[in-house]
């Protein structure tokens, strides 16, 4: 038989198609539109067949279409496995399964598979709106499961209402398992990372204009909450890649040296209070962790290390949202670095920018600290403009052009020019990129790509590497109030960052607060935080019997709660005595495969039972008579005898 007859009741079938559509939708957003249409087509096809009352498609058609879908998945992803390919394959076959669903049993299987698909939606996004969406899906699917159990083949709003209640009732158990069920510290299986996709944010080089472009992106780079006092805004330098090699146009990292084995951080002597904070990094697919300048060695999160450039690096690229706890000092002194390290920081290209070199040479007699001050004073006093509208500079003498003719630039221009001047003046210097400042929302900072910044570090024999921010000389407001209040040409900034409409900004901050809370408490709830929570309950490790006691105790408490609720509810609608006795009597007869149909009156049932059990016919007739007397004639005397008879009735 290659044709399948379609005997499913229509209403639950349409409901299932709708629920399946909802379940597939998040995955479809990850596919090419034509591919998504190809996968969703069987849904509409099945609905149309049901609508017109046709048979299901023939076998060769179903198989052919399945092969087509599998082939497309293979062509698109070059594999049938892995995260994206696997999910695409699953959704394709789930959709095809609908075309051969002809029994309630198949439909039930389909519903369970749909649950799996909904769970997989968290691969698409872990945001909390996705949770809300998946809960909606779960309710829709559960209503189908309920509807398939109904004999009358109907699906009505009641099923959805009841399903929603079921989800609500499951909530405490879900929370219990979420918080107390042991979490593995590593992933259960290795999630193939999508490091091929484009990275957002800082990069490992800096060319004029690169930060200006970043400033136009208001997406969140990371969020930070401080434990204890908030440091002042002007001290919030989030340290990213350190750029040391200048080729005359842009600045680059000396990556090979940092990656070399045995690359050790210089000794660091803290000079101020230790700042403790937790940051939640948005994925940026690079391995740097943007610690506050500078992180204390010895307090680093597991799997990370401090490079010789004082940059905090993780072993793996940050490809998913990452939450780390850190400690930093805002003032420090470093040990003397090796001579070749300092020499790297004096590198300049041969030729170019003669006027800048000349200016730097004029400071040669001064002490290193005085040379730094002189350069900063030069930037401060010569009416430089901090702007997003810096003119593009070409040629070999871009730093000369900036310093002596255009006098307008963004942070990357000033940081680059300053480091050039320092190196030309014989002071080891380097460019540090990262973020500066952030927006305070309730109790945490939001740092956006807009806050990307570049500054400089100079090496002074007495104190080691020290931070100098030339941009702060040009526009002091940049480090105290942020880009939007200090840079010219801010119409190039994203609208919401400009701060022109306070209520919209407030709304945005509120929304971000909700997102951050979600990331902090739900997504960021990992094995480490769970151990913290368990520790506060007196549980040292997952093997502890107290954990079992807590889990079992809470579960028992919930079950007790449900039992009590159920009892109270049924007590309110507790049937009268005669009816309870009758139900008991019916239950007794059920042992003899005699069940009262829902619409069967007691008299007809008793008659049937008496015929089936002639030995007890008299008893049955009498009990029925008494029940009718008690319940339908309201004779209270009959109840007593009924009770006696029913209790004595043992067929």
């Amino acid at each position: 038989m290659s044709t399948l007859r379609d005997d499913l009741p229509r209403q639950p079938l349409y409901g299932s198609i709708a629920a399946l559509f909802l379940a597939l939708l998040p995955h479809m957003t990850q596919l090419a539109p034509w591919h998504a249409l190809l996968i969703l087509l069987p849904l509409g096809w099945r609905g149309l067949l049901a609508w017109q009352g046709h048979d299901l498609p023939r076998r060769w058609l179903r198989y052919g279409y399945s092969l087509l879908l599998i082939g497309v998945v293979f062509l698109q992803f070059h594999t049938l496995f892995g995260r994206e390919g696997g999910v695409a394959l699953l959704t394709s076959l789930l959709s095809m399964k609908l075309l051969e669903t002809q029994h309630r049993r198949d439909a039930r299987v389909l519903s369970l598979l749909a649950f799996f698909t909904v769970g997989a939606a968290f691969l698409v996004s872990q945001a909390f709106w996705m949770l809300a969406y998946t809960i909606g899906c779960a309710i829709a699917i559960m209503a189908q499961l309920r509807a398939w159990q109904r004999l009358d083949g109907k699906l009505d709003a009641f099923e959805y209402k009841r399903s929603a209640w079921m989800v609500l009732e499951a909530l405490p158990i879900m929370l219990l398992l979420f918080f107390l069920f042991p979490r593995l510290s590593g992933p259960l299986w290795q999630m193939p990372d999508d490091s091929g996709s484009a990275s957002i944010g800082l990069s490992d080089d800096m060319t004029p204009g690169s930060f200006t472009n970043l400033a136009r992106d208001d997406s969140v780079a990371f969020r930070v909450s401080f434990n204890g006092k908030l440091p002042p805004q002007r001290d919030l330098y989030w340290r990213g890649p350190v750029l040391e090699f200048y080729d005359g146009v842009g600045w680059q990292q000396l990556g090979s040296k940092q990656d070399a084995p045995g690359d050790a951080a210089p000794e660091l002597q803290p000079l101020g209070d230790i700042v403790r904070y937790t940051m939640t990094l948005e994925p940026h697919n690079r391995n740097w962790l943007l610690a506050l300048d500078v992180p204390l060695p010895g307090t680093l999160p597991p799997g990370s290390h401090l490079s010789s450039r004082l940059q905090l690096l993780d072993d793996k690229a940050v490809s998913s949202r990452k939450r780390i706890s850190l400690q930093s000092v805002l003032a420090w002194r470093t040990s003397t670095p090796a001579a070749d390290l300092v020499n790297d920081e004096l590198q300049l290209p041969v030729g170019g920018n003669p006027r800048a070199r000349e200016l730097a040479a004029s400071w040669a007699p001064l002490s290193p600290q005085a040379r730094v001050d002189a350069a900063l004073a030069y930037l401060h006093n010569n009416s430089f403009v901090y702007t997003l509208d810096a003119p593009l500079l070409y040629g070999r003498n871009t730093i000369d052009d900036l310093l002596f003719s255009t006098k307008a630039g963004f942070c990357e221009h000033y940081a680059g020019a300053f480091v050039f001047l320092m190196r030309a003046a014989g002071v080891p210097a380097r460019v540090v990129t990262g973020y500066q400042g952030g927006e305070l929302n309730q109790d945490y900072f939001i740092v956006r790509q807009t806050d990307a910044h570049a500054w400089a570090e100079v090496w002074l024999a007495t104190r080691g590497w020290q931070r100098v921010d030339p941009t702060a000389m040009v526009a002091p407001g940049r480090v105290t109030q942020g880009v939007a209040r200090s840079a010219a040409g801010k119409q190039k900034l994203p609208y919401l960052v400009r701060g022109d409409s306070p209520w919209l900004s407030a709304l945005r901050l509120r929304w971000d607060g909700a997102v951050y809370g979600w990331n902090r408490w739900v997504i960021g709830y990992d094995a480490q935080r769970q151990l913290q929570l368990l520790g506060s309950l007196g549980i040292e490790d997952f093997g502890s019997p107290r954990l079992l006691m807590w889990l079992g105790g809470c579960l028992g408490l919930f079950v007790l709660f449900y039992v009590v609720m159920h009892h109270l509810q049924s007590r309110r609608q507790r049937p009268e005595l005669s009816q309870r006795l009758w139900l008991h009597f019916v239950a007794q007869l059920a042992r003899h495969k005699l069940t009262q149909r829902a619409n069967e009156g007691p008299g007809s049932f008793a008659e049937r039972a008496a015929r089936a059990l002639p030995a007890h016919a008299a008893d049955i007739q009498r009990i029925c008579y008494l029940y009718l007397q008690a319940r339908y004639r309201n004779r209270s005397g009959a109840e007593l005898e009924l009770q006696r008879r029913v209790n004595a009735f043992k067929p």
Binding site: A598, N599, G601, P602, G603, L628, R631, Y632, R633, N634
Partner: protein
């Protein structure tokens, strides 16, 4: 203890063979002071049943053959000027009987059918501003042909609702048919019938039926049935409160005919298709379908 109407039942069963349930339903309908509508194909014994009922109950009956040119005055009566007294005098129409047998009621146009409305509900007739009470007891037993037959006007819903029950007779069983074919002519049999009871016995029976005990548990069931008809997607609308009153009364009469002084769910189930069948138009056809009422009964649980 047998009730006084058991002999009536026996007698009727001798005339109409193999239709015990329908005859009992018809009697229950009259005991519940309701009007009866008999619907079926011509020739299955509708008129015979109606005629026999009236005779057995010892009631004065009038028979009106409804036709497409029947006018309200033909039914209710008319005031005629009398030269001798110089006054108009009202001449009573056939409706002033204890049993009005309306044969093929759906062959009359709606205007004439409506003339029956007041008589059926209020048990009185108003003509030329004067109100005339109808005798007690008063029944309308109407017969009608299925609607798809030629030359029929569908009864308006308001009038259908005034019939407590609609009963279909259906073809008799083979053995009953054989007995009928071999036996005497039915009309001759009716002529030999005697009244089995006096009218006051019938009135007393109606009173005791109305006083029968109905428990809250039973009313739960009746209301569950009502709400099922009202929320059922197949029906255009559900049972009216009047229909529910009729349902309870008919169930009482059924219980009374079973020699019980209280009503059980089976009584309701027995009369439900007759009482609800013609009051529940289906969404699909817009016409009442007695079978869907019986199906509904199967889907409502007895509490």
């Amino acid at each position: 203890m047998a009730h006084p109407l058991s002999s009536t039942l026996q007698q009727l069963n001798r005339i109409i063979l193999g239709k015990e349930t329908q005859i009992k339903l018809a009697l229950a309908c009259l005991l519940a002071r309701g009007h009866l509508l008999l619907e079926d194909l011509p020739g299955v014994g509708k008129t015979t049943l109606a005629h026999a009922l009236a005779v057995c109950l010892g009631l004065r009956f009038q028979r009106v053959q409804f036709t497409s040119d029947l006018l309200p005055a033909d039914l209710l009566g008319v005031s005629i000027y009398e030269r001798d007294s110089g006054k108009f005098r009202f001449h009573h129409g056939p409706v002033f009987a204890q049993v009005l047998l309306g044969d093929e009621i759906n062959r009359a146009p709606p205007k004439t059918q409506s003339a029956l409305l007041e008589a059926m509900e209020e048990r009185q007739v108003t003509v030329d501003g004067a109100t005339h009470a109808l005798p007690e007891p008063f029944f309308v037993i109407a017969t009608q042909n299925p609607q798809h037959q030629i030359g029929t006007f569908p009864l308006p819903e308001s009038q259908l609702d005034r019939f407590l029950m609609r009963i279909e007779l259906g073809y008799p069983s083979a053995s009953a048919e054989r007995a009928m074919l071999t036996g005497q002519d039915r009309r001759d049999l009716i002529a030999t019938l005697d009244a089995t009871i006096q009218p006051d016995v019938l009135l007393a029976a109606q009173k005791s039926v109305a006083a029968l005990h109905v428990s809250p548990a039973l009313l739960d069931y009746v209301q569950a049935l009502a709400s099922a008809t009202r929320s059922h997607p197949d029906f255009a609308y559900g049972l009216s409160p009047r229909a529910l009153l009729g349902l309870v009364n008919a169930a009482r009469a059924w219980a009374w005919l079973d020699n019980r002084d209280f009503v059980v769910p089976e009584d309701v189930q027995a009369v439900f298709p007759g009482v609800a069948g013609h009051r529940l138009p289906t969404r699909a056809s817009g016409r009442p379908d007695p079978r869907s009422a019986a199906e509904l009964l199967g889907s409502v649980a007895v509490p």
